[in-house]
Symmetry: T
Subunit: 159 residues, 12 copies
Amino acid sequence: MSLSFIVPGLDEATSEKVIAILQNRLSQEQEAALVLKHAHWNVKGPNFIAVHEMIDPEVDSVLAQADETAERIATLGGSPDGRADSVIRHRTWKEFDLEGRQSTEDYLKALIEYYDSFIADDRKAIAELDELDVISSNIIQDHVQELEKFQWFMRSHLG
Amino acid sequence: MSLSFIVPGLDEATSEKVIAILQNRLSQEQEAALVLKHAHWNVKGPNFIAVHEMIDPEVDSVLAQADETAERIATLGGSPDGRADSVIRHRTWKEFDLEGRQSTEDYLKALIEYYDSFIADDRKAIAELDELDVISSNIIQDHVQELEKFQWFMRSHLG
Amino acid sequence: MSLSFIVPGLDEATSEKVIAILQNRLSQEQEAALVLKHAHWNVKGPNFIAVHEMIDPEVDSVLAQADETAERIATLGGSPDGRADSVIRHRTWKEFDLEGRQSTEDYLKALIEYYDSFIADDRKAIAELDELDVISSNIIQDHVQELEKFQWFMRSHLG
Amino acid sequence: MSLSFIVPGLDEATSEKVIAILQNRLSQEQEAALVLKHAHWNVKGPNFIAVHEMIDPEVDSVLAQADETAERIATLGGSPDGRADSVIRHRTWKEFDLEGRQSTEDYLKALIEYYDSFIADDRKAIAELDELDVISSNIIQDHVQELEKFQWFMRSHLG
Amino acid sequence: MSLSFIVPGLDEATSEKVIAILQNRLSQEQEAALVLKHAHWNVKGPNFIAVHEMIDPEVDSVLAQADETAERIATLGGSPDGRADSVIRHRTWKEFDLEGRQSTEDYLKALIEYYDSFIADDRKAIAELDELDVISSNIIQDHVQELEKFQWFMRSHLG
Amino acid sequence: MSLSFIVPGLDEATSEKVIAILQNRLSQEQEAALVLKHAHWNVKGPNFIAVHEMIDPEVDSVLAQADETAERIATLGGSPDGRADSVIRHRTWKEFDLEGRQSTEDYLKALIEYYDSFIADDRKAIAELDELDVISSNIIQDHVQELEKFQWFMRSHLG
Amino acid sequence: MSLSFIVPGLDEATSEKVIAILQNRLSQEQEAALVLKHAHWNVKGPNFIAVHEMIDPEVDSVLAQADETAERIATLGGSPDGRADSVIRHRTWKEFDLEGRQSTEDYLKALIEYYDSFIADDRKAIAELDELDVISSNIIQDHVQELEKFQWFMRSHLG
Amino acid sequence: MSLSFIVPGLDEATSEKVIAILQNRLSQEQEAALVLKHAHWNVKGPNFIAVHEMIDPEVDSVLAQADETAERIATLGGSPDGRADSVIRHRTWKEFDLEGRQSTEDYLKALIEYYDSFIADDRKAIAELDELDVISSNIIQDHVQELEKFQWFMRSHLG
Amino acid sequence: MSLSFIVPGLDEATSEKVIAILQNRLSQEQEAALVLKHAHWNVKGPNFIAVHEMIDPEVDSVLAQADETAERIATLGGSPDGRADSVIRHRTWKEFDLEGRQSTEDYLKALIEYYDSFIADDRKAIAELDELDVISSNIIQDHVQELEKFQWFMRSHLG
Amino acid sequence: MSLSFIVPGLDEATSEKVIAILQNRLSQEQEAALVLKHAHWNVKGPNFIAVHEMIDPEVDSVLAQADETAERIATLGGSPDGRADSVIRHRTWKEFDLEGRQSTEDYLKALIEYYDSFIADDRKAIAELDELDVISSNIIQDHVQELEKFQWFMRSHLG
Amino acid sequence: MSLSFIVPGLDEATSEKVIAILQNRLSQEQEAALVLKHAHWNVKGPNFIAVHEMIDPEVDSVLAQADETAERIATLGGSPDGRADSVIRHRTWKEFDLEGRQSTEDYLKALIEYYDSFIADDRKAIAELDELDVISSNIIQDHVQELEKFQWFMRSHLG
Amino acid sequence: MSLSFIVPGLDEATSEKVIAILQNRLSQEQEAALVLKHAHWNVKGPNFIAVHEMIDPEVDSVLAQADETAERIATLGGSPDGRADSVIRHRTWKEFDLEGRQSTEDYLKALIEYYDSFIADDRKAIAELDELDVISSNIIQDHVQELEKFQWFMRSHLG
């Protein structure tokens, strides 16, 4: 990795470590947006419209997270990779394998499980970033607060 | 493929053919949104801000196209697959292989080339859909009008 | 039927045929708005609020369709009849006969059945209008795209 | 009529009387919306655009009245009937029988006459509701204030 | 109770009676806002998101009622007491005793019961205020119309 | 007074009595708007900006009251007189005689006194209108609720 | 007249002359707002709604002129008099004497005549203010541009 | 004509034919905007304000049509000519020759006649474009739907 | 306390400690909203309107804090208690005991004193939460920043 | 030229002179809007999007200028001629002769040259109007301020 | 000073004189924005919130003045100097020397004194610019109208 | 430095240290707003409009930072000094010395260099504030995230 420039107050080695962590988060945020839309389109059953509509603001939220993460990588002099192949290449978590028209319950269960690793990996990233760059850590902290809240929404549906 | 239901006035075989065409278009529309964001983050050079900002409304536009295409699949009784792996599995066009921070010119050239096959495939889909379901054809016609206009924007930059 | 004037490029006989088709569609669009409100007020059960609110934008949508259809009739030199008695006089489809406070499921099933003939008749009108006046056909094509999507919403509820 | 529940502070007999009065008003409010649109589409002559546009906000106003009346019926434990056939079945007033493209003056005269019975029946309902349920009376009082103002608008046109 | 001033046209004794009635209503309106939020946070089960979101506009509505009631007390020369201890001290109705994460059905049942006394007490206040100050009565009449409509929403959920 | 027409359900004699009451109220509402602006421009002292800005929404409010009152007169078949000379000719209350740049306290005291008769006369009108036309009474009831609230604002300033 | 203060760059005698001119304009602007509303309420005939609605934005415009003129007087250290009696006391132009429900044509003719003196007096004021205070002259220049345009509107109606 | 580039899926000869048709339409759309404004400024008579205001949204609509047509030409690799001289050089229809302040009826008659050829030429272009480029045809179809509706507005005025 | 679920990356004991701290903060945030409204209604004196209006946005702010805190408790698997009795049961700070119509100065002094403990307790909670859950700590940090700013507003009033 | 009426305070000869000057300005303002759109569609090169978007608000601005100028002509009793042929007939300046797809630099140079005469002619008109009608002069002064600012924008691009 | 270009109709010497005058005004406008914010942050006492909030729109207003003045300099071919050192270098008026937390009265007195020279210098600039460039003079005339009105606000506070 | 009051939970010595750090940051934030506007007005060359417009939102952003920093100083009991002389007196970084109309590249290079010290000093302040007052540290952390992102924008332009 060769950086275009360095943010004042960070050195190159630190920047590279931060960028590597953020690229991994970027890929999962991008995938989450695809997965949420996938569920949005395929849910069925008596809570269809409520769950269908509950998911859309979370898609916007996760897309905004990806934008913020990618622009932080660029700000640090790195080059974010945002293509579909990059998402798969950086995937260090279990892929989302529910497909077809299924009940809202089945999709919510699968999404809750997906969010388990999403949140856990974000919290691990925060712990590492705290030692490297507090600004980048703040960004992911805001993301995880939102993710945890949405997980509560989903869990509450399963009662 | 087994459909959940059939739209009044279409038969099952026709519906399945329409769905197969739309799924292919969905995957490219989803990938295009990722590719455009990828370019949005990585362009550099004297036209940086103008190109950076020109791309964002097109991302929204292509995301809305994907949503419309996927919901048409669901409307026809099918199940749209919107995951990252699906994008790659359905890819019948050349992937986008420019990466890293590059000049606005290089990214625009690569995007114009990507749009060449995007538009050509949309026009081919329109021809096929015209024989099967005029409503689905209308949807892709609106998409290609927008794509062609954005390609003019990009071509005009290269002068 | 005596027309007040003729649109440039259409002859009188064609105009009269188009108007007759559109008057039939107008009456069903007006009735659909009444039927949807009727359901909106009478649904009950655990998905009450979600279904109650899902219906309202569709009422607005169908009212706008009726307005566009009626103004097309007037544009062609005809006189749209929009009174309650006209709705019943032009009814060539099965009336909506569910009444009283019933479960969301019962109302959705009855509405899906009502939409079956609504959509089928719109598609039949499109086929006829294509030979007479492409502008009028376009108008009904846009209407049916919306109706089919809303039918998917309702079908998804029944899972 | 069997009610689903009773509002705290009202008894069942009173509720049923209020509901019967409100159902009659609902049907006329629904018909008025159809009649106004009918006029909106068919007026012609030198004041066309002014009268055409003056009517539309009144349509919205009367649709909102119908919604409020129907939801009051439901609130009282009743089941509002909002279908076209119900409008005609409950019609205790003279139907609107002007049709075809006519001058703005002719339509305004016919509407003023229609409003004469509309307002008179609303005022009669208020007198009855005052003895039964002040909240329901308040609702119709607000409706008649608006109707009387619109009748002034129409009368002023005829000078 | 010593008043700061008297509204023109009311005497002191009347004003004091009105204020006492309104203070009681203020306390219940304030408590209702707390109770509704409490339910908003604790509901769970398959209708979670729909019920969670249905409650929030009612919170705003009840907070606005409390504001209007309190400002009417002040307008009459009195001093509204809006503290938590005041809510409990003025409580002449049964407290809301459901707690912990419970199903949407359980919370709706408990809220319907709470609204039974809320509405009954408002209607009783209206009867008393009609003899004292019509303006104050109008205010509570508007409040009870809204409360009864929300109770219908809740009852419809239980089907 | 000769009326242009009669509202359905009212007789001519009643209409004339209502119109006479409303014309008196119209003149005071119009004068109040002038008086409030007069104060708005001439206040001075340490609370200048707060009082200056507190008055403006009340001007809008009173202008809207005058518009509503005048349009009610016209709705009843009468002819409202809204000229400056009419204000003075109908003046049955004490004119506002504070002038020149004065302290906020002096203007508020004078306005409170002016509102004393304004409110008292509105309440007297309500009592009379209740026997004649409940819709007209409702209109003035809403006006006086607003006036009394603004008087509280002014009184609170004087502490 | 004793001024509270002097604007930097103007002397006291000049300020007093400017204030006297502006007070005269203020009174006519205030009266014009009353006269326009008077016409707004009393017009009748086939162009009722168009003329009724054409007048309202002009009322807002003239009220804003009065506000600007009065605040300029205050800015110059003077005290604007905005009461109804002041309007009549300062009246150096012919009062508006059309009353009762009359045709749109009659009201427009009377308003055009009223605007003749309104505009002529504004232009005379501009000529005098140009020698005294260019800022005050600018204010009245903007007013007269608007008045002349509205007079064209009215004249065009009479054709 | 030498094109800068070709849209994927169209050949050069086809593109040139489409561009020639669109340039002709562009010139008339641009002229129509000028003609409508010309009428907007010169109408007089008892319906002045209604007709004056009815025209303005149509100006915006026709300007947007010209923009869409010109950008389609550019999208196809052509160069739209949008100057006044180009409008006249491409004029294959009868110029608009009414001038001076005239009655609303005279201007509406002249505009209706102008729209006769405008619409007829648009419909002829649609027929030709259908064979060449469906996307370009769609664009003009949307334009003619709007033009025909506005012609109805104008015809209704003449009653 | 038995939790419904655990946020990924937190253990049950930690979650329970965080929830206990947040419940205490929730109760004070809810009480603060009541106390601020109480002051909003009862202040009087020369700064009445400025202080009355300064408080309202702070009420919204504190209500939003309570909502965020309660939803964090739910997100962590706990059950927030938001009833009036809960506020009093959790009160570990001095209650607000000023009542009746009092001067703005007296209410501001009492509120400043109330905020002293509010802020001190929030800062203590931050210190504890920093060791348990950084996301919860961030939430309260944002709250205290707002509270301290509002305290500056109040202190500035006392000069 | 025969005028329909005269503005109070101007004589006929003066009005005619003012109208002649304004008609000349109107024609150039109308042409400028066409020329700017022409450039908007035909620019190409690395600054395409920035220049393309910079031009659009100026089109709106110049269209608004033409509207204001034409309505001033009508206000003075004249009849503005706004047709394409009128633009050419009144052209006393050099036509814009750049065409085809050209670089942003070439179009900006041509536009700057066009604005040189546009501004110079506006300034000459101001000098003449100052002696005839200050209100008309004010209008063109505001126009030229905007034109000069846009010319700075264009000049800054050429560096 | 060497200019980049000359506005059509002005010569170089005139342009340079205008620019020198405007640069002086720019520096004071920039300083005024800093001074007003300084007061905004440091006022205290019983009118704190009213004065604190009254100042903010004036900051926006003065920043907009500086922007307009600087862009006029650039439009004339000059180069505005907007740095802090430039403000001090161009200062020909008495600096603002009140600091620390002080009463609203003290800050208002100091600001009124600061505005005395600000307005006097603007009026002197207008007199000079009238001979050189009326467009530049118009700009400063609009600025001083606003400044004088704000000075009235401040003076009214001191009563 | 003598403080007016102390925030609950901080001692006086700590508060004074925090205030000194924040005053230094305030001065640079205020200067940055001036410097950015200075560049906004003076840039030229082929990217003029893009860079000119890119800078304006950053000016708003930096002005908001200064406002937040100054209000934090006031919240802590200190007195922010916001005058031009204060900016220069507190300047511990290299002044911005580019002036006159220069290319966008030259201004961007100079701004990037200016931001190097701006960011470095903000990061140094964060490190010190973390030990003193976490709320103040949070404020500057948010500021530096924005500054670093804007520096990326600028660096990307230079490619």
